[in-house]
């Protein structure tokens, strides 16, 4: 066959979200990949002009349907820093618990989609079945499965009772055993390795120079994680980032798989050290000045720039999401890959397009 151009997306069953890739093929080998965005732009940043800074929490939460809690947390931490608010310790630990639950369900979602991208449907169902447990924890403790809406400026809205923390721990136990059972399949199965090992390799230097973030970067051997900034309660919790060195799709899968277990561990630590006390402080006054805020989302570091002018509306809000940083990696990885590896490679950066376009 000669040169073919495939419009991969924006609506494509293997893509969870609309991104358009124009793939030029030479006999099932990609020679060029040109991405196009702009299918889910909603103009959420502009909403600062008509929503006050409290209401914006619920807007930024809806930037992304998967890492929503971390968006709100990043935003609230930024405003708190600007207004000089000291959040109570219990609130900071609770934020860690919910944010790590978020990371878990996001990674489980990804593991499922990744399995689906190489045609392993039954494995996909297994991961999503486990994910339901995490979503149930979310719903039982916060009232919603994904858009948990727990963050407010100055703390959190919901508290965990002793009973609930015990419930979380026992659920996590069963999640852990079920995941362990899938470990040999996702990491050691012959057919899975055949589809992931050596696909889409990025060296540490390449990954660093492309400015990648999150698991995509860590799978290439660069130890960088925004949780090392010790926001929320991370200064009281032992944490070392998960790093792999191979830089291929398999390594990225391994990083995320191991991070699920790491999150379980972080939640256990946080519940173990959960201090008593207030969960939120009263907020007086209006924000003024400018601030940047960063947290580690499941897909990598998210960056918020906030500028305020002392009124109840912010002046400017700018979000740089992890997928925005990771898309350039696709342009490096795709040329030279086979067509059947495209879904695997595209999924391996865990693209979140709603985040990227806001």
């Amino acid at each position: 066959m000669t040169r073919t151009i495939i419009p991969f997306g924006p609506q494509h069953p293997v893509l969870p979200e609309p991104i358009h890739l124009m793939l030029t093929l030479d006999d099932e080998v990609i020679t060029e990949a040109v991405p196009a965005f702009g299918f889910v732009h909603r103009g959420l940043e502009k909403l600062v002009e008509i929503r006050d800074f409290h209401q914006m929490i619920y807007v930024v939460e809806r930037i992304c349907g998967i890492c929503s809690m971390l968006h709100a947390m990043c935003y609230c931490q930024g405003i708190e820093e600007m207004m000089g608010i000291e959040t109570p310790p219990r609130a900071r630990f609770l934020r860690v618990i919910w944010s790590e639950l978020h990371r878990m369900h996001s990674h489980l979602l990804w593991l499922g989609l990744f399995a689906d991208s190489f045609g392993f449907e039954s494995l996909f169902m297994q991961f999503w079945k486990i994910r339901e447990k995490i979503l149930d924890i979310d719903e039982a403790t916060t009232g919603n499965r994904i858009i948990v809406s727990v963050n407010v400026i100055g703390g959190v809205r919901k508290d965990l009772t002793l009973e609930q923390t015990r419930g979380i721990l026992s659920e996590l136990k069963s999640v852990e055993t079920e995941l362990k059972r899938l470990e040999t399949t996702i990491l050691n199965d012959y057919t899975v390795q055949n589809r992931t090992v050596g696909k889409g390799v990025l060296t540490a230097k390449q990954a660093y120079e492309l400015g990648l973030v999150g698991p995509t970067l860590r799978a290439s051997g660069v130890m960088q994680d925004a949780r090392m900034l010790k926001y929320a309660a991370f200064d009281d919790i032992a944490f070392t980032p998960v790093v792999e060195t191979d830089g291929d799709c398999y390594a990225r899968c391994k990083v995320r798989f191991r991070e699920v277990f790491q999150s379980i561990d972080l939640i256990r630590q946080a519940i173990g050290k959960l201090p008593n006390g207030e969960i939120a402080v009263k907020v007086k006054g209006r924000p003024d000045g400018e601030v940047t805020s960063r947290v580690e989302q499941p897909r990598g570091e998210v960056f918020y720039y906030i500028r305020a002018n002392g009124t109840k509306h912010l002046e400017r809000l700018r979000v740089r999401t992890p997928t925005f940083a990771n898309v350039p990696a696709l342009l490096t990885m795709l040329p030279g890959a086979g067509l059947s590896d495209v879904p695997v490679i595209v999924l391996s950066i865990d693209p979140c397009i709603s985040c990227t376009e806001r």
Binding site: T4, A115, E121, L339
Partner: protein
């Protein structure tokens, strides 16, 4: 003559019916091993009825012709199987049907269906020689290519042709579009080519290809049943076990790519067939 007429009518009706029912059971079982409840047993029929009721959009006349030709060839193959005709003829007609499907896909300009058709050709390249080898094995065992000769045997063929039966299983996996071989198109479209080969077939034409696929399923399972032709219960059991193995393979494997398929299919298939044939010959 009347007997033949009845047989032909029965094959035309029951061929696709059995194929559809098997596909319905397949869906339920697949769902159950994935911890889902799954659709009702008759879901494949509901799907096809719905497709038949849709507006007919013909991409080009040639493609519409191809869909019909595929169905015709697939049903003729089933009829011939029921008439206990010549095995080589049946396989040939079945192959002609598949070629029509591919040609229909090639006749549209969508890159997805082009690449799908290309891959389907590679798949055929992989399994057609194997099917012929199985037929040759049957010939060596019975001394004839006619299915009637198989039914005349006193001992199940499986005992003499175990490896060739495995090869037939391999072909079945490719033909049923199960992982790891759901390359040219897949049942759920969660694949890089979306619906690949079938992308540009739509509405009633897609329904025709689906019915033809049921016929193909029935044909190949009928072929499998020949390996235990001495006893209907044995034949049924053999087919059931074969199909369960297909579902098992489908659920424990990722999709591979066509290079792997050609290498593995030919390597494994040829090796198994040769071992079996040499063994038959030497005896």
């Amino acid at each position: 003559m009347i007997r033949h007429g009845i047989l032909i009518a029965a094959a035309l009706i029951f061929g696709p019916l059995v194929g559809g029912l098997i596909s319905g059971m397949d869906r339920i079982l697949t769902a159950r091993v994935q911890s889902r409840i799954g659709p009702p047993l008759l879901q494949p029929f509901y799907d096809v009825i719905k497709l038949l009721g849709k507006e007919k959009v013909v991409v080009n006349v040639w493609q519409a012709f191809c869909a019909n030709a595929y169905l015709t060839a697939a049903s003729i193959a089933v009829v011939l199987l029921c008439l206990r005709s010549d095995l080589l003829l049946i396989l040939f007609i079945q192959a002609v049907g598949s070629v029509f499907l591919v040609v229909g896909a090639f006749s549209s300009t969508s890159p997805y269906s082009q690449i799908g058709a290309h891959r389907e050709l590679l798949q055929m390249l992989c399994y057609e020689p194997l099917l012929i080898l199985v037929a040759v094995g049957v010939y060596l065992q019975t001394g004839s290519f006619r299915i009637a000769a198989v039914h005349a045997l006193h001992q199940p063929m499986l005992l003499k042709l175990p490896f060739l039966f495995l090869v037939l299983g391999l072909v079945l996996t490719i033909k049923l579009r199960k992982s790891p071989f759901d390359l040219s198109t897949s049942h759920h479209a969660h694949q890089e080519l979306v619906k690949g080969l079938l992308t540009d077939y739509s509405g009633p034409l897609l329904a025709l290809t689906e019915i033809a696929h049921w016929c193909d399923t029935a044909l190949l399972l009928g072929f499998c049943s020949l390996f235990w032709a001495t006893n209907p219960i044995g034949a049924l059991l053999l087919v059931a076990v074969t199909y369960l193995m297909e579902i098992w393979i489908d659920n424990v494997c990722a999709r591979m790519n066509w290079r792997w398929m050609l290498g593995y299919g030919w390597g494994m298939g040829m090796a198994l067939s040769l071992v079996n044939l040499v063994w038959l010959y030497a005896r």
